[in-house]
Structure formats: C-alpha cells, structure tokens
C-alpha cells in the first residue's frame, strides 16, 4: 500500500486532501458559488456554505473551522453583500491560518456573470498557491477519524458498527483521535459511557449531555427511547443503544466536545450534537450530512459511515468511507460501498478482519486513494442554525497534556 502523506499546514496539522473551498455566506450567493465550482470541474474544488441571512455564532464557528480544516488549502468567500454573515472576520481567520483567501461580493463585482468569471480566476489562483503546500509523511497517530451511522437496520449493530469499533480501538491505541456522536441515539448508554470516561467528572458531564439529548428529542416530539425491538433479539434499552454505540469500540473516553471543538490530544471523544437551551431552530441535525459536517468541523480527516439500508452520501472537504452492514444491500449498491461488513453475517469474515480492512482503507485514503463516494462525485454539505454554550472544564481532562 502507498504510504500516508499529509499537506502540512502552518499550524502543524496535516491534511489528507488539498481542497479549495468555495463558500457562499448566504443562500443568495449559492448559485454563483455553485457555478464557479461546477465550471472548475475539479474533484478538489468543493462547495460549502451557510444559507441564513440572520447571524448565528454556531454557523460562524463551523464555517471558520471548515475553512481552516487541514484538508483545505485555499478559500474563496462568496457574499451577496447585504447578508449579516461577518465575511471580513472569516477572511481574517483564514488568512491568519496561512491559507490563501479571496472574497467576492456579488453586489460590488457586477452581478452574476461577472462574479462567476472573477470566481473562476480566483479559484485558479488559489489552486496554484495551495499546490505549493509541502507534502510530508503522515503517521497513524496524526489521523482524526469520525464515525456516523445512517440508514441503519438490524445488521448494523452486529457487523459494521462493531467492526468500526475494532478499527477505532486500533487507531486510539496508536495515538490517533477518534470521534463518535449522536447523543440522541445513546440514550440508555450514559452509565456505560460514563464508566469509560477517564475521570468521574467527565463521566458526569457525559451523563448530563445524554439527559439533555433525551429531553430535547422529547420536546421535538420524538417521544422517549423505548426498549428496543424484542423480535429482533434486543432485550434492553442499553443493548439497543449499544448497537450504535459499538462504533466507539472499547477505549477509554478522553473527552466530550461540541461541534467545531478540536480534540486537544489523541484518544476517543464523544461529540455532543444537541443544542443547549430550549429548542429554537428545530431538530438537532436534520440529516446525516449535518452530522458529518460537524465531525469535519472538529478536524476529522475521514468519516467512517456505517449503513444497513444503504446510504450513498459523501461529503465536501473530507472523504467518507462507506461500511455496509447488510450483505443484501451490498449486493444492490456495491459501487457505492467501500466495505462489505455483511460478510460477517455470511460467515465469510470476522469482525477483526473487517475492522482491519476499514483501517487499511483509512490509511489508503490518507495515501491519496479516492473512496467510493469521492469517485462518484459526492460532495454533500448542509449547515443550519444551532446554539451551543462552550463545554465546561471537566469535559476535556486531557487538555493540560496538549502541547
């Protein structure tokens, strides 16, 4: 296998891609931004953006973290001109990170056609500068890997999810950073999780964040999590949630982060994706890609996406590796999948073998190989309104160890 390599950024972090992002700062600039990306016809020019015209500090934070993500080598900001997004603060944050950044304001640039032309030229300049980024060897401990499940079915919890858990255990053992999330699907696991926390205070924070998730989803009309599907063999609530939770493996939990927080050290982190305070803007994450964006905003180089029924999505900025839990789904959608974890059900592979295959694919992606969703051109992106309070001091007990 080819060796892992990274694009060395000025903050010392390494990216496994060298993407130029074109970021619209309000829906009114979306079309112009999309045309610039489409006309550039380049797998490494990606479209991201925030549609809202009203200000939101969460959206600003996520956009900033994405535009300064290690996988990003240059940024073009697309503004209509009258939206409230603080484009100058974002431009300064990107410039301060050492990346090339340009801003185009449609109202000043002469409208749609002129801005698209100016944007294409800007992308060419940004690509040229990003192309000079030093490429250096990358080690396993430098990887940040996120995981999510979507389109789950009865096979997810016994094949793909625990196989990802094996991969996470090996990554954490090597000193890498792994992130799992969706506290709303971990109701019933909070005591099991808090027992894995590296300090009792972190354990208490984890229990509190799962209780927050349960309350939030109850208000949103989801009702509470009931003991799972007994016909499928699940006996208890904690067992049902463990199906999703098994993606986390069995390492100690080193910290609790919120979207956009960068884990201070290697280890396993839980991301709290449920907004703080009373529900204001709707469901915590309206679809899988909203969760993927948050995992990337916290630094994930690559996303391990487990699916039983067969999601096809990828993402802007970071490659998505699809781990298919169900052998029948794999047979139907094999071009969209990277791993057939359903072989475990058929007795053709063990959890360890599939876990090792996933780890190989993470390292192959970090060596430059395209994942199935990347090769098919998937670059989904969604960012909506949310509100968070910062995490408390007990949430990151390893922070003092960070350099």
């Amino acid at each position: 296998m080819a060796e892992m390599r990274g694009f060395l950024r000025s903050d010392g972090r390494k990216g496994i891609r060298n993407v130029v992002v074109v970021a619209y700062l309000v829906e009114c600039a979306h079309h112009v931004a999309r045309r610039i990306v489409t006309l550039s016809d380049d797998m490494d020019v990606h479209l991201i953006g925030f549609p809202g015209c009203y200000p939101n500090s969460y959206a600003f934070q996520i956009m900033t973290k994405l535009c300064t993500h290690p996988n990003v080598g240059g940024v073009l900001l697309l503004s209509l001109g009258c939206e409230s997004f603080n484009r100058e603060a974002l431009r300064q944050a990107v410039a301060a990170s050492g990346r090339p950044v340009e801003t185009l304001v449609i109202q000043q640039a002469g409208g749609t056609r002129a801005t698209i032309e100016a944007g294409r030229a800007a992308v060419a300049r940004l690509k040229a500068i990003a192309g000079q980024t030093p490429v250096v060897p990358m080690a396993r401990h430098e990887l940040v890997v996120g995981t999510i499940c979507g389109g789950s079915d009865g096979t997810s919890g016994i094949t793909a999810n625990p196989a990802v858990g094996r991969c996470f255990d090996w990554l954490v053992e090597a000193g890498a950073t792994c992130i799992f999330e969706e506290t709303g699907e971990l109701v019933g696991c909070e005591r099991i999780m808090s027992d894995r926390a590296v300090t009792p205070e972190l354990g208490a924070e984890i229990e509190a964040c799962v209780q927050k998730a349960e309350r939030y989803y109850t208000i949103m009309g989801f009702g509470s999590f009931a003991p799972g599907n007994a016909e499928g063999g699940l006996t208890t609530q904690e067992e049902k949630s463990m199906g999703a939770y098994s993606k986390s493996g069995s390492s100690p939990i080193s910290g609790l982060i919120k979207p956009g927080d960068i884990p201070p050290t290697g280890g396993l982190y839980l991301m709290d994706v449920v907004p703080d305070g009373e529900p204001r803007f709707g469901f915590p994450n309206i679809s899988d890609n909203a969760e993927i964006v948050e995992l990337i905003a916290s630094g994930s180089h690559v996303i391990l996406f487990t699916t039983g029924r067969g999601s096809v999505v990828g993402s802007a900025i970071s490659p998505v590796i699809k781990v298919c839990a169900n052998p029948e789904t794999y047979a139907r959608l094999s071009e969209d999948m990277d791993v057939n974890a359903g072989r475990i059900l058929e007795g053709k592979a063990t959890l360890d073998e599939v876990g090792a295959e996933i780890l190989d694919l993470v390292e192959a992606a970090a060596a430059g190989d395209r994942t199935a969703s990347e090769a098919l051109g998937h670059q989904e992106f969604i960012l909506t309104y949310k509100s968070f309070e910062p995490v408390g001091p007990a949430c990151l007990p390893t922070r003092g160890r960070a350099a």
């Binding site: 109701v187 009702g223 007994a230 063999g233 006996t235 904690e238 067992e239």
Partner: protein, 110 residues
C-alpha cells in the same frame, strides 16, 4: 464448503453471550468455545445465546459492556432474552418503562 460456518458471533472477547447470525433450529449441534451443545429451541437472527453458565444476578456482557442482568439461571447455549434477563438501566420519569415493565412502545433512532 468444507467447514460449517458457526451461526454465532462473539462481538467482544469479554462477552458472556453470543449473537445468532444465521437462524438456529431446535436440535442443531452448536460449538460454543469448544463445547458441543444441542440447541434447545429455534432462535432467530439477532438473538443471544449464553456463552457460559449464567446465574440470576449475573451481568450480561455484549460489545464488552453490561447490557443488563440475568433474572434466572441459564446453561451454556441457552437463549438469553426477556424471560431471563432485565435492564439495569434506571428509568427516568420520561421513559415509557415502569419498574422494568414496558408500558408503551415506539420505534426510535434513524
């Protein structure tokens, strides 16, 4: 195929239950950690069988984590489910569980 495929998966080395990956029929011969056991009943995919002799009060470990406790003893290879196992989870006021009994149901998650 020369070797029969085990219909059971061990999810974690610490586990004391195995998960059924292919339907088992009563009378089937099962190999559980080298012990030959005859299945006492039909068990469908996704259910759990005891990997060890378990007594009432024993924690049930799956994924390497406790997922509840036994309420009755079970032999190696016996079915572990609602009839001999319960949640250790302390139900909060919002959950549709009272004293370990389900009083309402809904699907959850996506």
């Amino acid at each position: 195929m020369s070797t029969p495929i085990s219909p059971l998966i061990l999810l974690h080395p610490d586990d004391n239950v195995l998960v059924v990956r292919a339907a088992i029929r009563a009378g089937d011969a099962l190999d559980i950690d080298g012990a030959r056991v005859t299945a006492a009943q039909d068990v469908t995919v996704g259910h759990k069988l005891a990997r060890r002799v378990l007594a009432a009060g024993d924690k049930v470990l799956k994924y390497g984590a406790p997922i509840g406790s036994m309420t009755a003893a079970v032999d190696v290879g016996g079915h572990v489910h609602m009839h001999n196992m319960k949640s250790d989870y302390i139900a909060s006021h919002t959950r549709q569980v009272v004293g370990g009994q389900v009083v309402g149901g809904s699907e959850g998650g996506h």
